[in-house]
Every structure is written in C-alpha cells, then in structure tokens.
C-alpha cells in the first residue's frame, strides 16, 4: 500500500489555496505519480482522504458521511492550518468543531497554504507510519 496511495480530495469549505497547492503536486515539477500517488474520482477507491478547510455546520455531516463511505484501511491527512487547528476561524460562529473531533487524523500538514514540499514531507511521514516506523 505504501507504493500505491490513491488520494481523494475532500474540500471542507476551504479558500482554495490549499487545493491549488495539492494540484501542484501532480504537475511536472513534483510529479508524485512517480511514487504511485494518483488523484481518483470515487471515495470507494481512496486510500488517503485529503481534507482542506475548516469544517462548517454544512460540511460536518457531509464529511462524516464521506468518511463512512470509505473502504478500510483509509488514512486521513489534514492539509493546511484550517484543517489542522481551525486557523483564525476557530472561534467562528459557523465552525462547530475541529477536524479531529470528526474523524481520526493520521497526519497534519500545517501552512497557509502548505508548500508542495511540505506536503511531500507529510506524505513521507504518512508512509513511515504505514510501515510502522513512527
């Protein structure tokens, strides 16, 4: 599984910067397909769930449903400061909880938005965790 991570991208009302940086990973400069990482369309095929943005009252239920639809084993990666800790929306009227209250998060990648290099470092940690080294 460490050589073939299929990634599903779930946007929990992000500002789109993290999403653009995620797409950067697939471009020629970084090309994560070298390591078997591909974006896929259906949640049923996913090995990693990328979550970006703060969970809002609207997206909380949907994200829970999404996580229940995954096939185990499926890891969760929190991309960006928003998904990691709420950023400046932590005390907002519209963000009832943080991401790790909803689902177990395996790796946090901070940054606003995180650089592609930071995300690669995060994925390497995720793979180390899968191998049982952490």
């Amino acid at each position: 599984m460490t050589r073939s991570l299929w990634v599903f991208h779930a946007a929990l009302s992000p500002c789109n910067n993290c999403d653009i940086e995620i797409l950067d990973l697939l471009t020629p400069r970084h090309d994560v397909e070298r390591f078997g990482i591909t974006l896929i369309g259906s949640i049923r095929h996913a090995d990693v769930l990328l979550a970006s943005g703060v969970p809002t009252t609207k997206t909380v239920t949907r994200f829970k449903e999404l996580y229940e639809q995954t096939t185990q084993p499926c890891l969760v990666a929190a991309i960006g400061s928003c998904a990691g800790g709420g950023n400046m929306f932590r005390d907002s009227y519209n963000s009832p909880c943080s991401l790790d209250d909803l689902v177990p998060v395996d790796v946090y990648i901070p940054g606003c938005p995180p650089k592609p290099e930071a995300m690669i470092a995060g994925v390497v940690k995720l793979i180390e965790k899968l191998k049982g080294n952490v």
Binding site: E33, R34, G36, I40, G41, S42, R44, H45, P73
Partner: protein
C-alpha cells in the same frame, strides 16, 4: 490430457497469466508515455502490479441488495476477455487451432467486458453509475457497427475465411492486409474502435472522472475493482493483438510481433493524450457518420479487389 492442456492454455499461456502480465506492462507503457508527453517522469514499471495487489487487500463494500450480480459482473467480464485472448493467442501459435466462425465469436467475446461493466454499474444502484452505464451503452452501439464492417473487409480480403487461423495463413502467403488500400483504411477505423473499446479518451465519457466521479466504477472497491482493472489490462493486450492478427500478420517472428504491438499501443496512447473527451452523442455521430462511411468505402474497395 487434452482437457488439462486446454486448462493450461486458458489459465497460463496464452490465457490469463500471460495476458494479464502483458496487459499490466502495457498499462505501464500507457502511463509512462502519458507522463513523458506531459513532461513528467511517470511511475515505475511495477506500478500496476502494486495497484492490483493493494486493491486485493482492501475492504469490499457492497451497496444495495443485488450483491450477487454486483460481485459476479467483474468476473464475467474477465472470463470473456481471457477467453478472447486465449483464442487469439492460439491462432498465432498454431493456425489450425480454432473452428469455422471464431471471428464472429470474437465480436461477441470482445463485447462482453463492456456488457459486464454495464451490468455491474446498474446493479450498484448509484445514479452516477447508471449515467455511466447509459453512456457506455451508446458508445457500444456506436463502435460495433464500424467494427463489424472492418471484420467484413478482412473476411472479403481472405476469400470468405471465417477462421482466425485462415486469416493469418492468407496474409502469410499473400502479404499483410495493411499493405492494400482497403486494408489501411480499415486499419485506421480499427484503431478508433480499439480506442473506444478500451474506454480511452476521447471515448471515456462512461468513466469521466472529472464530471461523474468514475461513472461505472464509482461503487466498486477492493477485489471486484481489481478484477475490473485486470479486465481492462487483458483488453489492452487483446485488442492490439487482434488488430495485428487482422491486418499485419504477414511475418510472425516474435520480435516483429512485439514491435508492431508496441507501435499500435503508442499510437493509441498518443491519440488518447492529444484529444479532448467527446460527449456520448458526439461519439455516436462520429462512429455512425464518418467512421462508418470510411469503413464502407474500405469494404467497397475490398470487394473491388484493391
């Protein structure tokens, strides 16, 4: 003994194991060429094997109550594709193998994987999957007409031979079909039909990841999904080999065959990477309009002996 030999043909060579290995390697060629076109490095050669092994170990989720149909559909498609690969491979090994009319059986066998995809998608009771199944159905109706027309071209050119082995021996004595006018036209049509049968862009509306999230594959996970990927791999091996059998079987040494196979594969991948996706109705118009006309023209040329 005879039965054991047939089981060996079906399961090992030139059947399941060989076709799946060749197909998965071809899948890597597809991904690597795509990556190079996009100025990327691309995955290592064993990537598709790792993907299949991983999918085998994942959880299988079955939606709804139609679990038998849902789980049997991938198996049906794989069995049919492997049977087609076996028959075509045996025709290359010994032209006496096969029976009168196995060209017609090929049409049906190569259709079953698409039917299996439709059955599985419909059994999953997902609205996006049913959209995908409907598109797949329209695409099948579109490409089957020119596909049968080019088979007619070949049959006419080999004096009404209805056996794969006879088609090969006709070309061995009279030169490859592709060297004639009707042959080259029919070959071009055959490449387009192959493209559609494999579900490659521009004919991938049934599985469009960006708009209907994987379409027909959306509810599949784990082992059944791996079976569908294997079916796709076996088809990726079978269809170019079938084209070689029909058009390009003049010389049959192994190196020439592999070279021709890789050439056809790269042409298909180049078409895939330089075209946008067609809507289902556009694809239907394309196949029933210009492509069928070209195939008909090739048929007329073949009847005239060109």
């Amino acid at each position: 003994m005879n039965l054991l030999l047939h089981i060996f043909f079906y399961l090992i060579f030139p059947g399941f194991v060989f076709a799946a290995l060749a197909g998965l390697i071809s899948g890597w060629i597809d991904r690597k060429v795509t990556a190079r076109i996009q100025w990327r490095v691309g995955p290592p050669w064993y990537q598709n094997f790792v993907d299949i092994a991983k999918l085998m170990g994942k959880e299988v989720v079955v939606p709804g109550e139609r679990s038998t149909v849902f789980l049997c559909a991938p198996l049906l498609g794989l069995c049919a594709a492997v049977l087609a690969a076996t028959a075509i491979g045996l025709a290359f090994i010994s032209p006496d193998a096969g029976f009168v009319g196995d060209v017609i059986v090929m049409v049906y066998l190569l259709l079953i994987p698409a039917v299996a995809v439709m059955i599985g998608a419909s059994a999953s009771r997902n609205p996006l999957a049913s959209i995908g199944a409907a598109r797949e159905m329209k695409l099948v109706m579109g490409y089957e007409l020119p596909f049968i027309l080019i088979l007619l071209v070949i049959i006419v050119r080999s004096d009404g031979a209805l056996r794969l082995g006879e088609i090969i021996s006709y070309q061995a004595s009279g030169g490859s079909n592709i060297t004639s006018f009707s042959g080259i036209l029919a070959f071009a049509v055959g490449i387009l039909c192959t493209q559609a049968k494999l579900g490659f862009i521009p004919f991938d509306a049934a599985e469009a990841e960006q708009e209907i999230m994987g379409g027909t594959m959306i509810e599949y996970s784990g082992a059944p999904l791996a079976l569908f990927k294997l079916t796709r791999a076996v088809m990726l091996y079978t269809m170019p080999v079938f084209l070689i059998l029909l058009f390009w079987a003049g010389s049959l040494n192994t190196f020439a065959l592999v070279g021709k196979y890789v050439l056809i594969l790269v042409i298909i991948v180049l078409i895939k990477n330089t075209n946008p996706r067609l809507r289902a109705d556009q694809a239907l118009k394309f196949f029933w309009g210009p492509v069928s006309l070209v195939a008909l023209f090739a048929l007329v040329l073949a009847l005239a002996g060109l």
